[in-house]
Amino acid sequence: MKTRPPPPAKTAPDRETRRWFGHPALSLVIAASWLLLQGSVELVHILWAVIVGLVLPWLVHGFIGAGLRPRAPWLALRLLGVVLRDIVVANVAVARIVLNPRKDPQPAWVRVPYTLQEPLAVMLLATIITNTPGTVSCVVDEERREILVHALDAPDPQAIVDDIVQRYEQPLKEILG
């Protein structure tokens, strides 16, 4: 049995300094989720919601990166409205395609370039693209800064690109940067 060599010098932990309330948006979401889960706004639950909202982001700080501070809340609400409306409208459109046996859709691969800086914003853009029917974000190419989108029925691919950039990417850029 050999003896153990001296332990190697401890490497610096791969995490930034944690701060309480370093992720205000997340803290709010979590506290709200807690209340939603409990289905009640009794004092005891609110108290716990605050605790959970503060503790959890602190606990998983290293995993979630730096906090975000949305800049234009009203714009965000507007974007939400636009997206919800588009979901309904486009769903109906897709339903037509699906249910019409004679309709032969023209699928296409579309590259949607983006200028967003924040990865979360890119993710949101991709999410919106997929959630609005007719398009699915297939590859987010971070080097080329473009999203490869598959469109179910796109006689005019460029129209889709323009639509996405205009309706979603621009507002997102303003909100998150």
């Binding site: 049995m1 050999k2 003896t3 153990r4 060599p5």
Partner: protein, 527 residues
């Protein structure tokens, strides 16, 4: 009753767990693949051995307590049986727990000779295994028995491949797979019993099973027979024995020695479930196992003894002999008389110790034979023929049943207990098994010690610590002979106590023996 006395029954389960948790938290000193952390290794060994020593003391105290003749019932969570889980301590379970630690202590000491460094967390796993074994022996609840079976099994899966290497993993996968399948059968069996009787407490089951007839009884019988398959498989009852020889041969020797206990768990469960629950008082389901057990055990023990004859390594031979000895025990169990059960219990004690000793002796021999190990082929002579030879002769003679060793006394007890129409079969089988075992052990011994290459004896001498640990098991075995008279009284009483369903029910379930505990379960009623 002092506090300690009151809490005694649960300690054989809790203490190993705490020890294992401490061992895990403290690390085993093997984090770095190249070098062992000497201090951590020492700490681990000291903690492990001293914990088993304490356990041995606790088990001895339990056995002394049980010898008084009363059932000790430990109500976990302070819940009344049959609702909560109880530990039921009678002479039999106390004896098995004591036996477990008596095997474990020398085996652990033996492993400290170096085997424990050949893989991660050996001692923690050993303690988990002890927890499972003790729990299985102590529990009075059928489903809880399943849980502890799983504890001891899953620890055994890992211990089996301890030391790694191709052969161990080769047998490991089948071993686990078979046991998983068996666990499924176990659950179906338990489920059927619950589905009909509405209870899981074994004392309650023993009182209730006899009340059912018709399809209910049929369901119970299927459940009981499935459990017989499961326990028979664990006990390596022929034809469910095929997994054992290769498995035990591949296990590292201390693990194989420890596994001598594993087959006995199956025997124990058969005694509890098929001896008592489906025993005399089970109405139309009485003696459910008898039709199967006696012929299989008789034929099986002979077949296994024959298997030992052709084995090509010591450890494989010991594996076959293990099957044969369990077969002999099950022959006694299947006679369903207190005398035969007493013999079965005594022989179980013997068989466990002797097989453990054999595995350790075989390892000592293998270590001194160099590359050939324990293979039954010509090799260099061992360095200490007198020592190892004497150990082997002593242990082998007991396996064969040569007097005055405990194997002889056990077989004598079985012979004397076998009366009635099955007696000629039992006698022939027991004696023939002894004869064929004699042939194979003589062959093995003469091959190992006499048919040696003309080389000088290997320089590798067994470490004295290992020899001492082995000798400890052998001494424990010899103790069975020296103390045969009090032990016989104990096993007689244990068998009588085992058969006393009413006494058990009163002790576990209270004076009304659980009347009213099970009620019709209908929506909207009784709530």
């Amino acid at each position: 009753m002092t506090w300690l006395q009151g809490q005694l029954p649960v300690l054989p389960v809790v203490l190993p767990l705490i020890t294992a948790a401490l061992l895990l938290a403290g690390g085993d000193g093997l984090d770095s693949p190249e070098v062992a952390d000497r201090r951590a290794v020492m700490r681990t060994r000291v903690l492990s051995l001293s914990s088993i020593a304490v356990l041995l003391g606790i088990s001895a105290a339990l056995a002394v307590d049980a010898a008084g003749g009363d059932w000790r019932v430990y109500r976990l969570g302070e819940w009344q049986a049959p609702f909560g889980i109880v530990l039921t301590i009678d002479r039999l379970s106390a004896a098995m727990v004591l036996l477990t630690q008596a095997v474990a202590l020398p085996v652990a000491a033996y492993a400290c000779g170096g085997w424990d460094l050949r893989g991660r967390h050996f001692h923690a796993l050993l303690h988990f295994q002890l927890m499972g074994l003790n729990g299985a022996f102590l529990t009075g609840d059928l489903f809880n028995l399943f849980v502890f079976f799983e504890v001891l099994l899953i620890a055994s899966y890992v211990l089996l491949v301890h030391g790694q290497g191709r052969q161990r993993f080769r047998v490991g996968v089948p071993y686990v797979a078979l046991n998983l399948a068996a666990s499924g059968l176990f659950l179906i069996g338990v489920a059927l019993l619950y589905a009909v009787t509405g209870t899981l407490n074994m004392a309650d089951l023993a009182m209730r099973v006899g009340r059912f007839t018709g399809t209910e009884a049929l369901l119970l019988q299927v459940g009981g027979l499935l459990l017989l398959v499961v326990f028979g498989f664990k006990a390596a009852l022929v034809p469910l024995h095929l997994w054992l020889p290769a498995t035990y041969a591949a296990a590292s020797p201390p693990v194989a020695a420890l596994f001598a206990l594993m087959t006995k768990v199956g025997v124990y469960a058969i005694l509890r479930v098929h001896g008592v629950v489906f025993g005399e008082g089970a109405g139309v389901s009485a003696w459910l196992a008898a039709d199967w057990l006696l012929p299989l055990a008789l034929g099986g023990s002979l077949l296994a003894a024959l298997g030992a004859l052709g084995a090509n390594s010591l450890s494989r031979m010991i594996g076959w002999l293990t099957i044969a000895s369990v077969g002999t025990i099950l022959v006694a169990v299947s006679l369903y008389t207190p005398g035969a059960w007493s013999a079965a219990i005594y022989y179980t004690l013997h068989s466990t110790l002797v097989m453990a000793a054999l595995f350790l002796v075989a390892d000592l021999i293998a270590q001194e034979r160099g590359r050939r190990g324990d293979r039954l082929a010509m090799a260099a002579p061992v360095a200490q023929p007198a020592l190892l030879g004497s150990l082997l002769v002593l242990v082998a003679a007991s396996v064969v049943g040569l007097p005055p060793l405990p194997g002889f006394i056990g077989k004598l007890m079985i012979l004397q207990a076998a009366t009635g129409p099955s007696a000629p079969w039992v006698w022939s089988a027991v004696l023939l098994v002894g004869f064929v075992s004699l042939l194979s052990l003589a062959r093995a011994g003469s091959l190992v010690f006499w048919k040696v290459a003309a080389a000088p004896p290997s320089a590798q001498r067994a470490r004295s610590g290992l020899v001492a640990a082995t000798a400890l098991v052998v001494l424990a075995m010899l103790g069975l002979t020296i103390a045969a008279a009090p032990l016989k009284r104990y096993t007689d009483a244990a068998a009588a106590q085992l058969a006393d369903r009413e006494g058990l029910a009163r002790a576990v379930l209270g004076p009304d023996a659980g009347a009213g505990a099970v009620r019709p379960y209908r929506a909207g009623e009784d709530r």
